[in-house]
Amino acid sequence: MNNWQRILSVARRELRIIRNRPLYFMGSVGVIAFCAVFFLTFLNNGLPDNIPIGIVDEDQSSTSRNFCLQLDATQLGKVVRYDSFSAAREDMTSGKIAAVCVIPEGMNENIQAFKQPKITFYVNGLYFVSGALAWKDLLTMVNLTNGAVQREILRAKGFNDSQIMGMIRPIDIDTHQIGNVTTNYNYYLTGILLPGILEMIVILVLIYSLGAELKFGTSRHLMDTSGHSIVTALMGKLLVWTIVFSAIGFVIIMLLYHWLHFPISGSIFNMFLAMFLMIIASEAAGIFILEMLPVPRLALSVGALYSVLGLSLSGFTLPLEAMPPYIQGLAVMFPLRHYYLFHVQEVIFGAGFAGWWDEVIHLLVFLFVPLVGLSRLKNAYIHQNFPKE
């Protein structure tokens, strides 16, 4: 048998194992399918709407009623009325409403009399997205109300409408959101979370696949099949798994950027490349963990810790700059971080090769890491001299 045939026979052996253990199928395809369905349907709206905002209207005037109506009519907000501040505050503390807005008594009269009354609002910033959006919505409403009052006054003073516009709004900002025009959370989060979950799956499944040989004592059978070459053994196993994971990865990319039309300013083919590189880099990370710790249970625990951390340290929610410096350096150890940077260049800026070539190199460097421990793994496979549990 030549080496290619041996690789194929290891691959056939791996397929037989996969067929016999439903866990492999459930742990890879099953988990990613569930997560994809979850995140895509969960964040389907893109931006939350009808966030409950409590209003305590102590004024009960036409102006205050109008304020409530307008607030209710915004896409973001939904008004919940309260009679007392304490009831509203309790509901805000318990997370039922995102904010409380108190309209003071005599607001209408005081506006007419230029006494500059104050609307007070309280936001629950612990329910992050709803709090921030409610805050933004309330601020906009106060500014709009101000504008409306000003317009009435200026009209009464005899200004014409075009003059009034210049008076009320001398400066305007025209905001362009690059790469995500509608502030869509689905595009923002799912585009990284699904590859992140896949990274997790690749690392765990590969550690399990390699570790199971030790755990069930079948590693000598594996070495016999591969002609006592650890490289051939790994090649055979990786052949199967790379095909499986790449297929999953390509389906994810197709799903996001083709079928669901997530915005992408670059090319979808480059994202296939990014996904493939992330997968093989994650495979390398998984192999390395098992080489260093040829005890399946420990290796899996370490792999779990490592891959869950990858989600945080990729820096797509809280940017890396906001983390302590000694954590920032650690981020390069995670393939997902490089995938994210690639994603920014290709999906958001459409920068192409010039933008992401260094991420390609970073991801390829991962492939050299497992070479360090090959002989260690081979020894473990032959002597089975590590605890099995």
Partner: protein, 426 residues
Amino acid sequence: MANNRFINTWLRDWWDIFCHELKQIFSDGGVMLIFIIAGLAYPLLYNVVYLNGLLEDTPVAVVDDADCSDSRRFIREIDATREVEVAAKCVNMDEAERLMRDRKINGIVYFPRDFGEKLARNETATLSLYADMSSFLYYKNAMIATNFVMLHEIGQIQMERYSLAGMTEQEASQVIKPLGYEDNNPFNRTFNYSLFLISAILMIIIQQTMFYGMSLLAGTQRERNHSFASLPDKLEGHGMIRVVLGRGGAYWLLYLGIGMYIAFIVPAIFGIPQRGQFGDILAMLLFFITDCVFFSMTWSTLITRRESVFLLFLAMSPICLFLTGCSWPTVAFPGFWKVFSYIFPSTFGVQSYINLSTAGGDINAAGSQMRIMILQTIIYFGLSCACIFAENWVIHHKEVIRERKDKLARKAGIDKVEDTKIIAGE
């Protein structure tokens, strides 16, 4: 008399099972690793990662084609905000875009050529903000900074224009701001990212480590051809409640310690606000831990092998985080996932912990969540009894099940002998 004897044997059985389970936990390295190392170190690790939690001085570039005193003042004021720092002044948009692609800056503020002229002509002058959406926090910072500076500038310019239109200074200031506002964010003053996230992660760690640990143990028992559910022989299939309460008691006791460490000590170490009453939080924690024990006991029944829990359920941790409603608001959940979120104790544990400890509400602030947790506890208690019953049934009917499996394999033409050589499982 008979009653008394029943209670006595019940208590003795319970005690035996309780002690046996504790012994199992402490003699298993893997479980200890999860409970002790993960339970103690994870919370610290996440706190370190999210320690600052605030993104300040996001670098932006300005392209000032107007080059007038108004635009220059605007730029100075943006630079002075906490959110944004003017990192570069570019001569044209191309240069700014290049800087953005190189990730040197995360936003561009552009003043068009007619900015100053329009202001001089009493028209609306428009400036443009280009925000990098690769993280929404960049966008948020750029938005907040430019909008606040804009509102401030508008006030200044309006003052000038109204006095030109013949108003006195007092009249003008009254017209400019007929309605004032005061905004408060009492629990999270600066919209700090870490405050809400860490509070949520802490409770999820309690639930997930308990579940992983218990599943590891259940898987191990099964691999050794024991069962986690085997009832004492003398009971002849009765006494499920003893087993459930005995095993549960062991985890409950252990997590009382770990839970208190996570809920009280970790936030104190990192200065996360603890505004609640100790008694309230402790009461909530006890309900949550009890809930988690029966939750884990029920779902760990699905785990047949030691390691499989990580492969199958690790991805549930981020999902649980989303289901708490701390980031994505509960009101925006699609109906199905809202129902789905009722499966997990963490959904309600996180909310009540945040309401009690971080927001400082009294026990009423977590009332509805605690009622659901109690209901969950009752249901999961029933389910874990049912699981033990089912497990027992399977153990006693092993032969029958195996025969059926073999028959199926023969029908499908699978070579069992070759398979066992590779799998070497059972």
